[in-house]
Amino acid sequence: MRVPGGPARRPWRDACWLAALAAAAVLAACGAGRGGEGEQTLRVFAASSLDEVLPGVVELYAAERPGVAVEVVFGGSQLLATQVEEGAPADVLLSADRAQAERLTASGDAGRSLPFAANALALVVPVGSPAASVEALAEPGRRIAAGAPAVPVGALTRAALARLDGDVARGIRANIVTEDPSVRVVLSRVESGEADGAFVYQTDARRGRGPGGGALRALPLPADLPANEYVAVLLAGAGPGAEAFVDFLDSEDARRLLRAAGFLAPVGAAAR
């Protein structure tokens, strides 16, 4: 390293330069976290089951509003809500269940919340798999992937098992080989062929692929299962554009995209 200001090498000067450089880098990194001058950046934390449909929705939203940039971070709803509680800089949380919205409202981290979609549980197997029924998956030796009970899809899975016939439910429970931290990981177990079946959402059943590249099939589950509601939560201290984004999720344009991806209308939407 060339030291400006003199031919003699002074180690502490090097250290000062290094420290200044490091400080500059840290400052620059902090600055990069927020959007550029004049451009409004909206940060959205979203449940990982929205990862395919949301980019299209965001694109449509941003196209109508020049100067607005939307940054999306995907993750498990629980994980994202905990990050918000711990001070993560997000404007909106799109949770895959109501529980997170209620939790954040109780802790004072959230304002308004709006249900904007719903998703039904699906037990998927690759098309052509020998285990082609719920009963077949309950036979000893089959392997089923599920979400952890703390994850929305995992909670929905437990609710479904509670409504299945006793022996079948017992068999399925015994065959669950993993309780994964997000629905994406659960889906990957069937896609890689490591599991015979997986409890995911209907939207995953549509887009997922079996290990051979073939489609997935959703096995019939009890019809009276509650669906998972997706709730948009306006977070405390949200920027000015956040409210408009939440409203946009309730618009016909956004609904159309969500429907096309296999999402259901939120409960009570028919009344509106």
Partner: protein
């Protein structure tokens, strides 16, 4: 060095040390002040995950020592080609992200993997079993053992072995009573490093072994799961704290062999 220089040197050192110590202290403080953490610690889940972690990390380390010692010895005594292979092996855990390691293991040992497929035909399946946890840890942490053992064997002068041969000792006897005592500290240090890395393994374990309480949910996976659950931070803190306490206790107990400038340097 001037007085100013030595003072700023000291300040930088103290800052960096604090950077490591404060978060650990934060865990402890949170546990003391947060009532939920205490009740989480009393529930069995944290301990079950910790026990699984201790058992699997110890198994993985035993396997690494058993298989890694001959490998390191062969590499150290095999000249140029050996040292190249050794360099690659030694760098492996540094360049390979654990999640990528998990995928790599699936391609070979998974149900449809190159070896896992034929094994499945024979009725043996690895993924989602405790054995898969051990394999994931061995894959990620084993190179740390080989690295240390290789350095130990390289530093052990082969002329001692030559003298032993001239005195009529067999190869095995020479290895056992001449070479091994010379490298024992290096092997111990490698084993401790390997064990510590295995204890913290998360990514490869999740992808290759899954996460099921009791059979594959190790302490790091339990931290991840608790962080996402209703217990939230309290549960995550309690397991993290157990993990740190146990790891620290073991490291301190073994510090005689692992400290920089310890007996083998």
């Amino acid at each position: 060095m001037s007085a100013l220089a030595s003072r700023s040197w000291l300040a930088a050192a103290a800052l960096f040390a604090l950077f490591f110590l404060l978060p650990v202290a934060g865990l402890g403080l949170r546990a003391l002040t947060d009532g939920d953490v205490a009740s989480e610690l009393r529930s069995g889940d944290s301990w079950r995950a910790l026990r699984l972690s201790l058992v699997t990390a110890t198994l993985a380390t035993a396997l690494a020592a058993l298989l890694g010692t001959p490998l390191a010895y062969a590499l150290a005594r095999s000249g140029r080609a050996g040292s190249r292979l050794a360099a690659a092996l030694i760098d492996l855990p540094i360049v390979l992200p654990p999640a990528a390691a998990g995928i790599a293991l699936l391609t070979v040992f998974g149900r449809r993997g190159y070896l896992g497929g034929p094994l499945e035909e024979l009725g043996v399946s690895l993924s989602f079993t405790t054995a898969a946890v051990v394999l994931a840890q061995l894959f990620v942490a084993g190179p740390y053992f080989v690295r240390s053992a290789y350095a130990g064997f390289r530093a052990a002068d082969p002329r001692f072995e030559g003298v032993a041969y001239t005195l009529g000792l067999s190869r095995w006897r020479t290895f056992r009573s001449v070479t091994l005592p010379l490298v024992r500290p290096a092997l111990a240090a490698g084993a401790v490093l390997c064990w510590a890395r295995a204890l913290g393994e998360l990514g490869a374990t999740l992808l290759f072994a899954g996460s099921l309480p009791g059979s594959t949910r190790t302490a790091p996976l339990a931290v991840l799961n608790a962080f996402e659950s209703a217990a939230g931070l309290a549960g995550a803190v309690s397991i993290s704290l157990l993990l740190v306490a146990v790891a620290l206790a073991v490291m301190v107990a073994l510090s005689r062999v692992t400290a920089p400038g310890g007996p083998y340097r």
